[in-house]
């Protein structure tokens, strides 16, 4: 079919161009699909709603930024592990547990005012996520049980646990027994950084974590350790790096960040604990991390892109009566094209004229 010839060194041009190729290919495919399924509507209108409107309309722009925050936070955490070959697929579960832990602290101190409450809740959220991811780390280190399976199974458990909590101990006593917690009081709510919108302080933390991760990987030994371990575990052992420590670090960090993201969601846009806390951020963040090639600054951009597709896609759904599944199709396609185009960085593509 086709033959791949390795380049002498990674093509710098392609590092920039390949994501653009992917975007263009996705846009073209979207164009073709829209042509087929739309009647009486100009495809250009749909494209405007999908890509441009969220950038030019104040409200949607704020929503775009807001929605990118959890994706960045979780994505940063995951990328650290992925570089090391530690596959935390259950960040969603750690996010839920973090939200429960942090939210429970906020509810415990219901109507107690004080600026110390939010930090306490955040710590609880981080610890909750870390603990939950730690289970997978323990099982992998002690029994070589694959962390993909464990974190995934634990995600289902976490969601059921959330249901048990909001139906029981954390339920609002004056809420007619509906499965929701009380609305958090003022001290337990995240501050908004852009007045009149839902852009919370979590966005600042997201940028902060991204910058920290970038430093950490660039400057610190820690980053080197993770880079080495991922590509060849045996080499790392010889060089004196500890494979077990890497597993623990990776899972604890990604779990902690996911847990924090969960608390941010509960104390921010949601303002309470409900069964709707899980929003697949834990899974979407995996895509965000890959689209950014695990680069901490790149994650900010890929998160914004994915958030754009959600906000724009939702508006397309509302304005043109298109089904929500169309967004999923495009996200899947974007990722396919991106992965495919990525090959252009390391290899030259030529037709294979020789027979096997």
């Amino acid at each position: 079919m086709i033959k791949l010839i390795p380049r002498a060194e990674n093509s710098r041009a392609m590092i920039i161009l390949s994501p653009i190729f992917a975007l263009v290919l996705t846009a073209l495919s979207a164009f073709v699909i829209f042509l087929f399924i739309l009647e009486d509507v100009k495809v250009s209108n749909v494209f405007f709603t999908l890509f441009i409107e969220p950038l030019t309309d104040t409200y949607y722009f704020s929503e775009l930024l807001a929605k990118s925050a959890p994706l960045i936070i979780i994505g940063i955490g995951l990328s650290i592990g992925f570089r090391a070959g530690v596959w935390n697929i259950g960040a969603e579960g750690q996010y839920v547990i973090g939200g429960i832990a942090g939210g429970a602290v906020g509810l415990y101190f219901y109507n107690v005012e004080g600026f110390w409450l939010l930090p306490l809740m955040a710590i609880a959220g981080i610890l909750g996520g870390m603990l939950y991811a730690g289970i997978a780390a323990f099982l992998r280190v002690k029994y070589q049980v694959n962390e993909i399976l464990v974190t995934l199974m634990l995600t289902y458990v976490a969601v059921l646990f959330l249901s048990a909590m909001v139906h029981g101990p954390l339920r609002n006593p004056s809420g007619f027994n509906f499965p929701e917690s009380r609305m958090f009081h003022d001290s337990a709510l995240l501050p908004v950084i852009w007045e009149g919108t839902r852009l919370y302080i979590s966005f600042i933390f997201a940028i902060l974590f991204s910058a920290l991760a970038w430093f950490g990987i660039k400057k610190h030994m820690f980053g080197m350790q993770i880079k080495i371990t991922g590509s060849a575990p045996r080499a790392a052992k010889f060089a004196g790096f500890d494979d077990k420590k890497t597993v623990w670090y990776s899972l604890l960090i990604s779990g902690g960040l996911a847990g924090l993201a969960g608390l941010f969601e509960a104390a921010g846009p949601a303002g309470q604990l409900t069964p709707g806390l899980p929003q697949f951020y834990g899974f979407t963040a995996i895509i965000v991390a890959f689209l950014a090639r695990l680069h901490p600054i790149g994650i900010i951009f890929s998160a914004l892109l994915i958030a754009l597709s959600y906000v724009g896609g939702e508006n397309v759904q509302i304005d043109y009566n298109l089904p929500s599944s169309i967004i999923q199709i495009f996200q899947g396609m974007l990722l396919f094209y991106f992965l495919a185009c990525d090959i252009l960085i390391k290899y030259k593509v030529v037709p294979n004229k020789t027979k096997n």
């Binding site: 079919m1 086709i2 791949l4 390795p6 992925f82 596959w87 697929i89 099982l139 029994y143 070589q144 049980v145 694959n146 993909i148 399976l149 464990v150 995934l152 199974m153 634990l154 289902y156 458990v157 059921l160 646990f161 249901s163 048990a164 139906h167 029981g168 899974f283 995996i286 895509i287 890959f290 089904p323 929500s324 599944s325 169309i326 967004i327 999923q328 199709i329 495009f330 996200q331 899947g332 396609m333 990722l335 396919f336 992965l339 495919a340 990525d342 090959i343 290899y347 096997n356």
Partner: protein
């Protein structure tokens, strides 16, 4: 417990397990060749839709199953092309496949949510099926359940009793050495991936053709992920796939019965049991099997193969 309730429970468990057995045995073959395909959920749901649509339009269950098989294969081929020819990261590509499969099936299936079809019903062999107790259990299962057991046997036979199976396993353990000997690594893996897609497709069709005669988006509800877990649980041994699927399906069904029998545990905690049990048993197996070398991960699982010749 009376006889007919017991039989009912067993039959319920097999029907719940069939989708898992198909999807898991397909993925097992794929992983034995060294490829990790996380897109099982996407392939299953496409199979469920294809099976439903063809059954709806033709009423022919054979065509429907073929359609499901085909649908799973087609969508798996995207993954195969990307990972084997364009050398993309398998984890990311598999996730993209799941996302795409879920979106595509939801979109394409929009017009079918208000329809219903004829289910594929259990077989009935005269005389044999009427033997009390054993009859219904052995001879009156759904044909797709029998097919799932057959596929497990065939995969086992292929992997351990044929030359190609040996080659495939060697590719999974050391693709560079296999390539050096002259085996076509890419071709074996490509075909394995297509097989995995076909199996996942039939597994999905078990839902829409056997369990409930309706179509709904996301009706696989995570079973693809469970199947992935089952492969690991089974330590990549075909026989264990059946055990794991029955266990998982069993706990899911038994949890519902427990509620009906008024067992005094909250339903959410009961619902957690299948997932927790999978983890516990996996750990237990690891502890027991620590020293047996033929039950470990295929060495090259997930690693990208690139020939330089």
């Amino acid at each position: 417990m009376n006889e007919s309730l017991f039989v009912n429970i067993i039959i319920g468990i097999t029907i719940a397990s069939a989708p898992l057995i198909f999807a898991a045995i397909g993925e097992l073959l794929v992983e034995r060749s060294g490829v990790l395909n996380l897109g099982v959920e996407g392939m299953m749901i496409v199979g469920a839709l294809m099976g439903f649509v063809v059954q709806f339009h033709t009423g022919n269950p054979y065509l429907a199953i073929l359609a499901a098989l085909f649908g799973g294969m087609v969508i798996a081929s995207i993954f195969a092309f990307l990972t084997q020819y364009l050398l993309t990261n398998q984890v990311a590509t598999g996730l993209a496949l799941t996302l795409f499969g879920l979106g595509f099936s939801a979109f394409a299936g929009r017009g079918y949510t208000e329809e219903t079809i004829q289910l594929i019903t259990a077989t009935h062999i005269p005389i044999l099926s009427d033997i009390p107790f054993i009859g219904p259990l052995l001879f009156s299962m759904n044909p797709l359940v029998y097919l799932s057991f057959l596929m497990v046997y065939l995969v086992w036979w292929f992997l351990f009793k044929t030359k190609q199976g040996l080659i495939l396993r060697s590719i999974g353990d050391n693709h560079d050495a296999a390539h050096a000997i002259g085996h076509n690594v890419v071709r074996y893996r490509f075909i394995a991936i297509l097989f995995g897609g076909a199996m996942a497709g039939i597994g999905g069709a078990c839902l829409s053709l056997v369990q409930v005669p309706i179509w709904g988006e996301d009706m696989t509800a995570g079973r693809g992920w469970i199947a992935l877990g089952l492969v690991v649980f089974a330590s990549w041994m075909p026989s264990r796939v059946v055990l794991g699927a029955l266990l998982f399906g069993g706990i899911t069904i038994l949890q519902l019965h427990a509620q009906g029998f008024n067992i005094r545990i909250s339903a959410q905690y009961l619902s957690m049991l299948p997932y927790l049990a999978t983890i516990f048993i996996l750990v237990a197996l690891r502890i027991r099997l620590k020293n047996k070398t033929n039950r470990t991960v295929p060495n090259c699982l997930g690693r990208i193969f690139h020939s330089t010749t």
